[in-house]
């Protein structure tokens, strides 16, 4: 226990300059925000920082609309999870298939290249026509947003397997299936994870965009409602929630990647 305390203290001491600067820059931001809020008038209204933080914590128990902010966050996260998981499974399957078989690549890649330049956000109107105004249209948008990244990265992963490894495994008598499960798949995992990581943050952005454009609940709805009612405090509360969740999601992915791809990092 004491030793841990000592190392933490040592690290703090080494990073004292960094810490000091973090405090300085945050303080500058807060002061600038406070001054701006006192000077603001007319159309450009800026609420004071304290007011916003207070509203943020209040909204955890007092509902905005029908739900508290935690419930809104839960609703948004559930949609992201559904879209992301479905897209990951399908994207990995298609990507690896394209990487392993040139025939599949010839069939799928042109279609993929046609659809890819269209930003997922541009699908929102069509998705609303197809799936209605509820959750499913957002899940479709999230699916589209993450699908691309997972597919491309899985493809790159499966294609860039060291041919020597495949050759060695084949020579030692491994069946095609065994080569796939023991060589090709494991060595594409780091690529796939890079794809999943981008895909998750992109899905979060897509979810927020889809909710801002049309929704009845979720964190994006909070800021749209704030916009419609001219309530800037509520908009900022929503943005804080979105930022916190975005940060947590990317941290989570990094931790999982660190665990699953440890072998890869040690090697290089």
């Amino acid at each position: 226990m004491q030793r841990i305390g000592k190392t933490v203290w040592k690290r703090l001491k080494a990073n004292r300059q960094t810490l000091l600067w973090i405090v300085i820059s945050f303080a500058t931001l807060l002061i600038a925000w406070q001054v701006a809020s006192m000077l603001s008038q007319g159309r450009v209204q800026i609420p004071a920082p304290l007011e916003v933080f207070e509203a943020f914590f209040r909204s955890m128990t007092v509902p905005i609309g029908k739900n508290t902010i935690l419930e809104h966050a839960g609703i948004s996260l559930w949609r992201v999870l559904l879209g992301f998981v479905v897209a990951s499974v399908i994207g990995m399957a298609i990507g690896i298939l394209m990487g392993v078989s040139p025939k599949a690549h010839a069939v799928i890649n042109p279609l993929f290249e046609f659809v890819r330049p269209i930003p997922p956000i541009a699908w929102i109107p069509l998705s609303i026509l197809w799936f209605g105004l509820g959750s499913s249209n957002k899940i479709f948008i999230i699916f589209l947003a993450s699908f691309t990244y997972v597919t491309i990265n899985s493809y790159e992963g499966a294609r860039n397997v060291d041919p020597k490894l495949i050759g060695a495994a084949r020579m030692l008598g491994a069946s095609r299936r065994r080569v796939f499960t023991h060589v090709i798949f494991p060595s594409s995992v780091p690529y796939i994870f890079a794809g999943l990581q981008i895909a998750l943050s992109v899905s979060w952005a897509a979810e927020v965009a889809a909710e801002i454009i049309y929704s009845q609940n979720g964190v994006g709805w909070i800021i749209t409602m704030g916009m419609n009612n001219g309530n800037i405090t509520q908009i900022m509360v929503g943005m804080i929630a979105i930022g916190v969740i975005g940060y947590l999601l990317s941290t989570l992915m990094r931790v999982v990647e660190g665990r699953l791809c440890r072998w890869n990092r040690q090697e290089t």
């Binding site: 300059q17 960094t18 600067w21 973090i22 300085i24 820059s25 945050f26 500058t28 931001l29 159309r43 450009v44 209204q45 040139p102 025939k103 690549h105 010839a106 069939v107 799928i108 890649n109 042109p110 279609l111 046609f114 659809v115 330049p117 269209i118 930003p119 997922p120 956000i121 541009a122 699908w123 929102i124 109107p125 069509l126 609303i128 026509l129 197809w130 979060w204 952005a205 927020v208 965009a209 801002i212 454009i213 994006g220 800021i223 749209t224 704030g226 916009m227 001219g230 800037i232 908009i235 900022m236 929503g238 943005m239 979105i242 930022g243 916190v244 975005g246 940060y247 990317s250």
Partner: protein, 261 residues
Amino acid sequence: MKRKKYLWLSIVSVLCVLVLWELVTDVLRLMPSYMLPSPLEVCKAFAYKVSGGVNPDGASLWTHIATSLKIALGGYLAGVVIGVPLGIAMAWYKKVDLFVKPLFDLLRPIPPLAWIPLMILWFGIGYGAKVVIIFISSMIACVVNSYAGIKQTRQVHIWVAKTFAATNLQILFRVALPTARPMILTGLKTSLGSAWMALVAAELLASTSGLGYMIQMARQMGRADIIVVGMIVIGLIGAALSSLLDLLTSRIGGKKTKRRG
């Protein structure tokens, strides 16, 4: 021979999808045309909009494209002009890094699109709000990539430069910037993509013309053919912008990298 087979398979696959699409819509009528227009309807709508038709959204395709491009390029240029030097300064000067990085890390988890409602309230639904949104979304990628690029500079190279009495600025321009060039160019490309996406999102939410507005209007009127036309045009322009940037940067970057090697 193998190349030929690949090409054949690709053509057949695209044709199959088109035929399937036509079958589902015009021939078997499994999907009503307000949900999924047939390829022929899309072509007709495309021809109509390209030839300057103003229904159902009140402006021709060219007007919408011009509005969108003006906003997107304006915000993008501002993002590049501010983002790249900021990233370089953060990576090169420790004080700037220590001061700006915490703020940058604080704001980065918020997707740029989440700024749209706030900007609309502050700046109205006109030109200003959208330019600011695109500025934010393109600046982030520029800063991140320039920062990472400069940080890649080998310490040994800096030592060599120092030994030959190069000043700090000389090292930055002669050693660090050439090292960072590929990363900076990647940043320019990434941010162009996110700028274009942010534009579409901003126009979907609040605007009175532009490609996003066109597909949003088409949705409200149940004109799926116009939506698909809009999506195709958005995709085409996005792809065209990115290959244009590739062309420009290969002209600028290509020669010098060769000379280096």
